[in-house]
Symmetry: C2
Amino acid sequence: MHAHVPVWFQRQAGRSLPEYHELRREGSILDTIRIPELAAEITLQPIRRYKVDAAILYSDIVVPAECVGFGVDVKPGVGPVIENPFERRADLDRLRPLEPETDTAHVLDTIKILAGELDVPLIGFAGAPFTVASYLVEGKPSRDYAKTKALMLDDPALWHDLMERLTDLAVASMRSQVVAGASAVQLFDSWAGALSEADYRTMVLPHSTRVIAEVSELGVPTAHFGVGTGELLAAFADSGADVVGVDWRIPLSVARQRTGNRVALQGNLDPAVCLAQWPQVEKTVRRILNDNGDHPGYVFNLGHGVLPQTNPDILQQVVELVHAEGQVAELPRAQPARPHP
Amino acid sequence: MHAHVPVWFQRQAGRSLPEYHELRREGSILDTIRIPELAAEITLQPIRRYKVDAAILYSDIVVPAECVGFGVDVKPGVGPVIENPFERRADLDRLRPLEPETDTAHVLDTIKILAGELDVPLIGFAGAPFTVASYLVEGKPSRDYAKTKALMLDDPALWHDLMERLTDLAVASMRSQVVAGASAVQLFDSWAGALSEADYRTMVLPHSTRVIAEVSELGVPTAHFGVGTGELLAAFADSGADVVGVDWRIPLSVARQRTGNRVALQGNLDPAVCLAQWPQVEKTVRRILNDNGDHPGYVFNLGHGVLPQTNPDILQQVVELVHAEGQVAELPRAQPARPHP
């Protein structure tokens, strides 16, 4: 029996949808996330519009660090900003363990609402230790991750202690999301591609592997994503994740070689392609589906988040094309959202 | 006979040197570049300090576009900004051919001063058509190159016409630099790594290849650089350049496989590593030299530009270590700076 290739879009909820801008108030995204009814509605909007095969929780990777009081804000048009960045050992004390039921009650309430509404899987998520560390250390989005790398090299003991704290945050957050009803989880190591494979394997992978292992215990599928991580795909697969993200810089066939076919792949469409007219988008989507062939281990997605200026009609056409043309041998195994037994 | 591995640093001149900050005035770098005595002195500073094996002209990749009147500025702390970005066919008229002797007389005067002062090769340079186009189209530094990619996909005819104009600018600029005394040239396609290899080969490589071919006619070595271009190394080697840049994301040995050993390599040290304490830097430099072995086709360099906060003493130690430990079979072939016969 054949089924269609499943499809969803990173950042499908939020900034590219007119119905989102109608709902959302001024100020930080973190304020919107704090209102469960609103966050649940924003999560549902792209499901209704696009008929995608999964919902992804409307939240942010800095939420756990914010909720333990590290002092994080998300500035519109900029990204996460930290008034007092992580600099020294004493700053570890600002990263106490997360108590999800109280610290992130609003996130769990959002998931509980969604578990009653969704008939597709709900993907929960967390920021991977490296990417969250890069924000905490740089204090803002960075192009070179210079301070982060300098800390990693100059004080590996402190670096690993920081990564341990952030690993604990990610594990506690993702486990609580699963218990509340998330059917799968994705670990976002968006900026890991700034590292060489050698540094990634020594300084980052052991921590990401622990996150994946401790969440996988709950029996949900795990995905692990980064952008510009073509050289790290084998290492990402070594994390134990079921699904590994691939951006547009390499074809799926090359990604399959690099991951030794041990994992399912997700991604491959350049979000910037979705800004072009439909014939160009169609050509690219067809090339990707063709490159996948009928390999069952593939989830269609963008190689990074939906760009804010994207026309939603184009994404809708992408979903229709993937559903019509992408034939695979078996269905993906994540279950619809519901509280964990 | 054995010689040392040659070493220079991208962005060795300028922002990381205290003697530069003493000389330089407020305002745009473009104003400083316009004063030949000043630009020549800034070019010479790192030669005196570090004893590097090559000078690189203190200039900027947007100079030719600025000098034909496109309307470009370089904002301190931001980068190139364009008040009226490139949007439509009519904007091609804002990119008339460069007349180097008049439009960039100040650049050529700088090179003539340097030709009388230097006893190491002087590297001239230009921005590659794609990277310059990305600034002209986006209007400012970008993370996603969304407008550039949308133009490329939606109007390939206009895209190629734009690339032709920018190719002509790069060729005219680099040829005039060689005639004035530059001993080698480097084509900076810093942001080409944002593209898939398929798009790069169709939309970019033919133009970069023409730049390299038309400058190589003058008999000088050519280098071609980008960051995050690991997946594009074979294509970069196809441009005909003698030397191809490699960032820190892959080892030299992998880069040699990907380029089929057809070109010399340059780079490989992460500029962020130079922010660490010396023992960490030393370890990384030794690893790179060891990975190179005694392969003669290697120029030690950073995988991107020197970061502004770099301690110059560290770079000096890098030069000393490379000169002491990096043994290769033959000398590089670029000649000291002098006017072209």
